[in-house]
């Protein structure tokens, strides 16, 4: 899923400027699962804004709404009648959702309340960890199911480097060395011969280096 962090309240207030009619818009997908922008978090942020403006003695209107998804136009379009009543849409979705809402409701001001951080997994309730960088050409079959692009600080294709010590990465003692994990997994599964294969330089054109990506499936089009 896409994982994010909520922005500090002060930063959100600053971004809102003089706007006092605010539609706080959540998303029921990834940001709900990672506890950053679902219905509950929309409630908390809306409550913070209400308490703050009540304290300041200001007039305001804060509306809470959560869409099934902010990355599909059909859901975004469904709130068109609602948006006219508010100065600002404060989106709690990932960067993709914020942009799609902004695109659908231009020139209305759309403000992000969340910093989108990574594609990851839930390690335990309340703990998430990065697993993928969307490089566009997956190689985890070669690396025992561990991605060195996302999980090695240097994204090394032939590791580990000299910073690996006791199974940990030199960047901090809590970060596993991805290449230690790879070697362990390859050993466990009897595939150490794969480790001997030298990986050539990666073609990054399938990743971000090739510019913004777009995917078209002609057979799925209406």
């Amino acid at each position: 899923m896409i994982v994010g962090n909520r922005k500090e309240f002060g930063e959100i207030l600053e971004k809102l400027g003089t706007a006092r009619r605010v539609l706080v818009l959540g998303c029921n997908e990834c940001v709900t699962v990672c506890g950053v922008g679902g219905e509950r978090e929309v409630g908390v942020l809306a409550s913070e804004l209400r308490l703050y403006w009540q304290k300041e003695g200001q007039d305001f209107a804060v509306k809470e709404h959560t869409l099934e998804r902010q990355c599909d136009y059909e859901y975004i379009d469904a709130i068109r009648p609602l948006t006219g009543e508010y100065d600002v849409i404060l989106s709690m979705a990932c960067g993709a959702g914020v942009q799609y809402v902004a695109e659908a409701y231009k020139p209305r001001l759309v403000i992000p309340a969340v910093n989108t951080t990574f594609l990851g997994v839930t390690l335990e309730q309340g703990v998430w960890s990065e697993r993928c960088q969307g490089c566009g050409s997956c190689i985890v079959d070669m690396t025992g199911g561990v991605c060195p692009i996302a999980r090695c600080a240097k994204s090394l294709l032939n590791g580990p480097c000299g910073g690996s010590s006791g199974g940990k990465c030199e960047i901090d003692r809590d970060t596993d060395c991805a290449w230690q994990l790879i070697v362990d997994r390859l050993t466990e599964s009897g595939q150490m011969e794969r480790y001997e294969e030298i990986q050539p330089v990666k073609d990054w054109r399938t990743g971000r280096d090739g510019g913004p990506r777009k995917r078209v499936r002609e057979d799925l089009k209406l």
Partner: protein
């Protein structure tokens, strides 16, 4: 025991303090209360194992949040007591009432949502 506690304290019953969500506390402040305290069982004695420990973490989170919005985190607190400690219940009710009195009314009472 015929113990007294201040009449300004309104009790909201929950099956376990683990039911207490951040939003419940925030909604109380939105409705105009001056302070909120959560009265949980003694740590380590939760019937549901970790309900009171979770409540404490949530109270800590609400403290941070109230500091951010300028109401002051000291308006919310978590206390632990067993079901047989009526005296402790009354004592915390008095302590919290005194604390909130010294802080004064919640500044969020000034205004209500007025824009249509």
């Amino acid at each position: 025991m015929r113990l007294n506690y201040p009449s300004n304290v309104k009790v909201v019953k929950v099956p376990c303090t683990g039911r207490v969500d951040m939003l419940l506390i925030l909604k109380a402040f939105e409705s105009g209360v001056d302070g909120v305290y959560v009265a949980g069982c003694m740590e380590g004695e939760c019937h549901y194992l970790r309900g009171n420990l979770r409540a404490r973490r949530r109270v800590e989170q609400v403290k941070k949040l109230l500091d951010e919005v300028g109401l002051g985190g000291e308006r919310v607190e978590m206390f632990n007591m067993s079901a047989s400690q009526g005296q402790r219940f009354a004592q915390f009710a008095r302590e919290m009432t005194e604390r909130i009195r010294s802080l004064g009314p919640s500044p969020a009472k000034k205004n209500k949502e007025v824009l249509p």
